[in-house]
């Protein structure tokens, strides 16, 4: 009964989405009277807003079914079990294909309802088309939920218990990671819909950028956090001492993130100089299509196993939708190409515009390499008739130099000026940072650092770090001198007076910390695998560890825990006792190897117990990693998040500008 209600709510939301698309098309192509137009537009707006409570009701019913362990629902049986803790039962909403698609629909509906409520008055003449383009995406995902992956599908007879959530997914990082990615993906649908609405309606101006800037930032932030949490989950749970493997599923989220990053940069130039209009439209369309494509890769299995494509019900539908949206969006862009042309053009290589454009090309270069590598099985089969894949070194070799250029540009760009920067001025500005970075690199070389990739990486990252820090320092110092403020007051005022700029620099600082972390942990990671008997020791780097013994005990639910006790010594001094362990879910037989580590700002000493021989005098085999600078990756990620908050925090002055523009527009329309 309850499930029928949830299904009915889903059907009604699907019909409502169809209504929204049809009404929007009528408003675009038909010629209703102004009064009728107003009526249909209001009806359209309400229809897009009603989808959220309907999908919310469906989701709530799935959650209630999970909490009640109602195994008459196939989905509940697949992802839940009676003894699962309550919080896992709730989060099991996105623990499987059908539920996570429904959850996707919920988040998209929430974003749509928010955009329709918040932005309607700012662009009343554009919003009906925005509503229509948003409804197309919603319609497709509702169709998938209803027609292919129905979360309300029944089981008969009703099983006594369910499968339970995959133990690997029972980790805080994995519980939060999917919703973050979905929020990122769905958030970025909003700026795309504005862009497509501008193209379809022909109401070409730059005001949609200001309206969607915060949506883009929100989407980008969630995508960033989602990627990072995925990496953290891999580091904590998958037990290979790493966080990024250029796996197709990882790449699926990374590619739209890259396109959105390029877009966030180049819209600044459009806002300041009215340039790159066509390019920005291309970038936001690309972001959207890559988002759909990424969802397609993750859910269809087309890349991990190309043979599964024909068997998958979801794959061909995603492919058709992707093709359709590509034709509509690029067709509209092509149709409006000349209308989007800018009167301004690039004046000099040494200008901020050129620096941003180069930054965009390099980001798209990384995106292209990632796309090529991810799709290489398909490409190679088309060309050679043989399916081939590329290994991780391919990505590292191809993207390494591009990342170095990108980081270098991150340092150069803030020193350039709009229109043109004189070479002498630029030379003076970069001289000290360049010299300082070179000296630091030479010192590291003298200290024994010999990997050329690491040396180049440290050199460019230090160069950009000095310039970025100097941006904060110089502006704050000026206030300290002129206003007599303390450093922190001056810094705070500097940031709050130009949040967008300094928020951006804070994000850059985060990226630079991550760059140091990646150089340390990828190039200088050390690893060993060794069997130790009780009381035996081994060493790695400056650390030594002694295996003290193993204890086995029953954990919560059906867990059987086998836990080693290991003393960790740093230069002979006991610094920590750690407990690497395996957890066996006895009912399903699924083991989990849980690492334990000694963590410091400079490195992680990361230990896994990979094998235990009870019968042979309590020997255990350990896999040990020494991951230098790994924590810089996590610190940098936090800084990126803080920077995005600073950049996106509402600015009263900006709100006044938006309000004034909207008022002017209304006056014009009325007149």
């Amino acid at each position: 009964m309850l499930a029928d209600l949830g299904y009915a709510a889903l059907v009604i939301s699907f019909v409502t989405a169809i209504y929204a698309v049809v009404t929007s098309t009528y408003l675009l192509l038909g010629q209703p009277s102004p009064k009728a137009r107003q009526m249909w537009a209001n009806s359209l707006r309400n229809s897009t807003r009603i989808i959220f409570p309907l999908v919310f009701l469906s989701c709530a019913i799935i959650v209630v079914s999970l909490l009640r362990s109602d195994f008459s629902l196939d989905y509940v049986w697949r992802v839940s079990s009676i003894e699962m803790p309550t919080y896992l039962k709730i989060t099991a909403l996105w623990g499987g294909q059908a539920g996570s698609l429904l959850f996707w629909n919920l988040l998209l509906a929430a974003f749509i309802a928010a955009a329709m409520s918040r932005d309607w008055r700012d662009r009343p003449e554009l919003m009906p088309y925005v509503a229509g383009t948003l409804a197309i995406t919603q319609l497709f995902f509702l169709y998938i939920s209803l027609g292919v992956e129905n979360p309300f599908a029944r089981l008969d007879p009703v099983p006594l218990d369910g499968n339970g959530l995959n133990p690997l997914l029972r980790h805080p990082g994995m519980i939060i990671h999917p919703p973050m990615l979905y929020l990122g993906f769905t958030g970025l649908v909003i700026p795309f819909s504005f862009a497509l609405a501008v193209l379809l309606s022909g109401q070409i101006d730059d005001s949609w950028l200001r309206l969607t800037r915060r949506w883009t930032l929100v989407g980008w932030l969630f995508l960033t956090v989602g990627l990072i949490l995925g990496g953290r989950w891999a580091y904590d749970v998958l037990g290979w001492g790493g966080y990024w493997a250029w796996d197709p599923v990882e790449n699926a989220s990374f590619m739209p993130w890259l396109a959105a990053t390029a877009f966030l940069h180049s819209v600044i130039i459009q806002e300041k100089r009215g340039m790159f209009r066509q390019w920005n439209m291309f970038l936001i369309i690309l972001t959207y299509l890559l988002m759909i494509y990424g969802t397609f890769i993750v859910r269809s299995g087309v890349i991990s196993s190309v043979h599964a494509f024909a068997q998958s019900g979801i794959g061909p539908r995603f492919f058709i939708f992707l093709t359709l949206m590509s034709i509509i969006s690029f067709g509209a862009l092509f149709y409006r190409w000349n209308d989007l042309a800018s009167a301004n053009q690039l004046n000099s290589f040494f200008s901020r515009e050129a620096a941003f454009l180069t930054n965009n090309f390099v980001i798209l270069g990384i995106l292209f390499v990632t796309f090529f590598g991810t799709n290489y099985p398909i490409i190679s089969e088309l060309i050679t008739g043989e399916q081939a894949t590329v290994a991780q070194p391919f990505y590292e070799r191809a993207t390494g130099p591009l990342f170095a250029i990108l980081i270098f540009l991150m340092g150069i760009a803030p020193l350039t000026m709009y229109y043109k920067t004189s070479i002498q001025r630029l030379g003076r500005a970069i001289a000290w940072p360049l010299l300082s970075a070179t000296i630091i690199t030479i010192v590291l070389f003298g200290a024994g650092m010999r990997q050329w990739a690491a040396l180049i990486g440290v050199w460019v990252t230090t160069f950009s770090l000095i310039i970025t820090l100097a941006e904060f320092w110089v502006a704050s110092r000026a206030r300290m001198r002129t206003k007599g403020e303390s450093f922190f007051t001056a810094l705070n005022t500097t940031i709050s007076r130009n949040r967008r700029r300094y928020g951006g620099y804070a994000i850059h600082l985060g990226v630079l910390l991550i760059a140091f972390g990646v150089i340390g942990s990828r190039i200088y990671q050390e690893t060993t695998q060794i069997r130790l008997f009780e009381g035996e020791s081994t060493s790695l780097g400056r650390y030594e560890m002694t295996f003290k013994g193993v204890e086995r005990y029953a954990g919560p639910d059906d867990l059987l825990i086998t836990e080693a006790t290991v003393d960790v010594f740093d230069r002979g001094e006991l610094v920590k006792t750690i407990y690497p362990r395996t957890e066996l879910y006895t009912r399903t037989g699924q083991p989990m190897t849980i690492p334990d580590l000694r963590t410091t700002i400079s490195e992680d000493f990361y230990v896994l117990m990979v094998y235990w021989e009870e019968t042979t005098a309590n020997a255990a085999t350990f896999r040990i990693y020494l991951n230098p600078l790994i924590n810089w990756v996590w610190f940098g990620s936090i800084l990126m998040t803080i920077g995005t908050f600073i950049a996106g925090w509402p600015d009263p002055r900006e709100s006044r500008v938006v309000a004034a523009t909207a008022t002017r527009r209304r006056v014009t329309v009325t007149a």
């Binding site: 499987g96 294909q97 009703v158 099983p159 369910g162 499968n163 339970g164 690997l168 999917p178 037990g239 599923v249 993750v298 859910r299 299995g301 991990s304 196993s305 053009q345 690039l346 004046n347 000099s348 290589f349 050129a354 090309f361 270069g365 292209f368 390499v369 290489y376 043989e386 399916q387 081939a388 590329v390 290994a391 070194p393 391919f394 070799r397 191809a398 591009l402 229109y419 060993t528 695998q529 069997r531 130790l532 086995r552 059987l560 066996l584 006895t586 009912r587 399903t588 037989g589 699924q590 083991p591 989990m592 190897t593 896994l608 990979v610 094998y611 021989e613 009870e614 020997a619 085999t621």
Partner: protein, 185 residues
Amino acid sequence: MADVSWTNTNPKADILAQPQTNRLKFAIAGIFLFVAIGALLVNALQGTTQLFTTVGEYYAAPEKAVGRDMRISGYVLGDSISYTQIDATSSRLEFDIVDDVNYPDQRIRIIALNEPKPDLLQHQAQAIVEGRMEDGQFFANEGGLFLKCPTRYEELSTETGGTHPDGATKGAYDAETHQYTEVTD
């Protein structure tokens, strides 16, 4: 009365008035970047491509595998998994993969030296292994053992566990031997 002769003293105006020849320079720079990225791509491909094959495809044309780095995909046969700790620093993990666990005649033996046994290495798990074929056995590269990640939403088969009413296989844990074995209802 003030002088209202509008002489443009804005330095930006001169820059804006520059001839449109920059377009060519930027086009050349763009082409240069494009070619550079292409060159990076081609260079990176050298020695990093792997022939992707299934068990059946390998047996259909085994000569293709000679001397090549490969990535092979198949489903794990649970009863073939064995892990041996040879001495303090060396171990040997072995298991067989097939295209279809119901037709296990055509199988390939995977050997991974000094690799930990992945948590997901279980009966019917999909394994993707990077390595080389030598003497009819497939030797995994270091860190070349991948079991299908749960984020890919692989469809649970009713045969893979749980207490499905249709009569499924499920695991049994022996507390004395600390062994997990699969049993059929």
